[in-house]
Amino acid sequence: MNKSKIKINLSFFLIIIIFILCFFYFIKDVKNLFYSIFAPFQLKLWSLAQNSRSFFQILFFCQSLKEENLKLKNENQKLIFENLNLKESLEKEKVFEEFLKNEPSPKFQFVVAKIIGKMPFQDEIIINKGAKDGILQNSPVITESKVVVGKVSYVYKNFSRVQLITSKNFIFNVEIEDKKIFAKAVGEDNLQLKIIQLPLTEEIQENLIVKTTALGDIFPEGLLVGKIKEIKKSPLESFQEAKIQPMFSLNELRYVFVIPKW
C-alpha cells in the first residue's frame, strides 16, 4: 500500500472518529431535535390511542359507565388523599393543638406537561416540557389526584424523560397507611411495584394504602403510591414482600404535573 493511500485511509478514519465524538458530545441536542420533530405525531398518536381505547370500551361496555367509573376513581383517589391528610392532621392536632390547627394541605408549584410517548423496553415516559420550562432533574412527577408517577430522570431543552416508580431498581421510601410501617418500594418494570424490607413481625393486609414519605428526599411526603395487592411471607427469610398495585394507570394519563421545587 503506498503512502498516499495510507494517508487517505487514516484521515478518513480520523474524520469518522471526530464525527462520532462530536455526535456523542451533542447527543443531548440531537435527541432534543428528533423529539421535537416527532413530538407532534407522538402527541396525536397518544391521544388517538386513548380515544381508540375509549372506542373499544364503548363496544364492550357502556360509555357512561366508563366516564362515571373514571370520575369515581378520581374522586376516590382525591378522597383517599384527603382522608389521609385529615387523619394526619388529627394526629398532629393532638400533639400540637393550636399550632397545627390551621396548617394548609401541601401545595406545590406545578409544571403541567403532556405525555408524548413511552421509551421502548423501559418504564419511562417522555413529556413535552424541558429545561426551558424550568424542569429540573429528579423533580417528582404526579397526577392531578396527587398520585406519584415517577421522577424526572433526564432533562432536554424542550423535553424530559420521566422514570416511572415501577421502573426497574427505582427505590424509594414508603409508609403503609394507618400502620405507621416504613419500608422500601422497588420497581420491577412492566408497571409492577413491590415493597421490600418489611419485617415479618409487621402485620399487613391487602388493600392497605401505601404513600410516600419524606425520607430519602425523593418525593414529598404523603403522595399516594398504590394499594397492597399480594403479600409474600417466607419463614426462611426475616423480611416479607408485598406487591403494590400502582394508583396511576399509564393508559389513562394524558397530563402529568412536575414539581420542580417542594
Partner: protein, 105 residues
C-alpha cells in the same frame, strides 16, 4: 424511480411503526399486557420480515437496520449504538442463515 419510491415507502412504514410502538401501544395496553411490548414489537417484526423476503444480499437492508437501531437508540437510556448493533447483527444473522440453509428458486 420505482426502486426509490419502494425504499422510501419502507422507510416511512418503519418510522410509522416505530412511532406507533412508542406512542400508541403503551397508551393502549393495560398493565397486565404490558410485557407484550417485547413480543409485539412492530419495527422488529418489520425488520425480520424485510430480511426474510429480501432474497439477495442488500446494502439497503443494513441501512434499514441501522435506521431502526438509530431510532431505538434515540429513545433509549442505554449507551448510544446498542440497538444499532443489535439490529445490524440480527440482519446479518438472518442473511447468513438464509444463505446457508435456504435455497431460493
Amino acid at each position: 424511480m420505482v426502486k426509490i419510491s419502494k425504499q422510501f415507502f419502507l422507510f416511512c412504514l418503519i418510522l410509522f411503526s416505530f412511532l406507533l410502538q412508542i406512542s400508541f401501544f403503551p397508551a393502549f395496553l393495560d398493565a397486565q399486557f404490558f410485557h407484550l411490548e417485547y413480543i409485539l414489537n412492530f419495527p422488529l417484526i418489520l425488520i425480520i420480515l424485510i430480511s426474510l423476503f429480501t432474497k439477495k444480499s442488500n446494502s439497503f437492508l443494513f441501512f434499514v437496520a441501522f435506521f431502526v437501531g438509530f431510532l431505538f437508540d434515540l429513545y433509549s437510556e442505554k449507551i448510544f449504538g446498542v440497538f444499532i448493533l443489535f439490529f445490524l447483527i440480527l440482519v446479518l444473522f438472518i442473511e447468513r442463515v438464509l444463505k446457508k440453509y435456504v435455497q431460493f428458486y
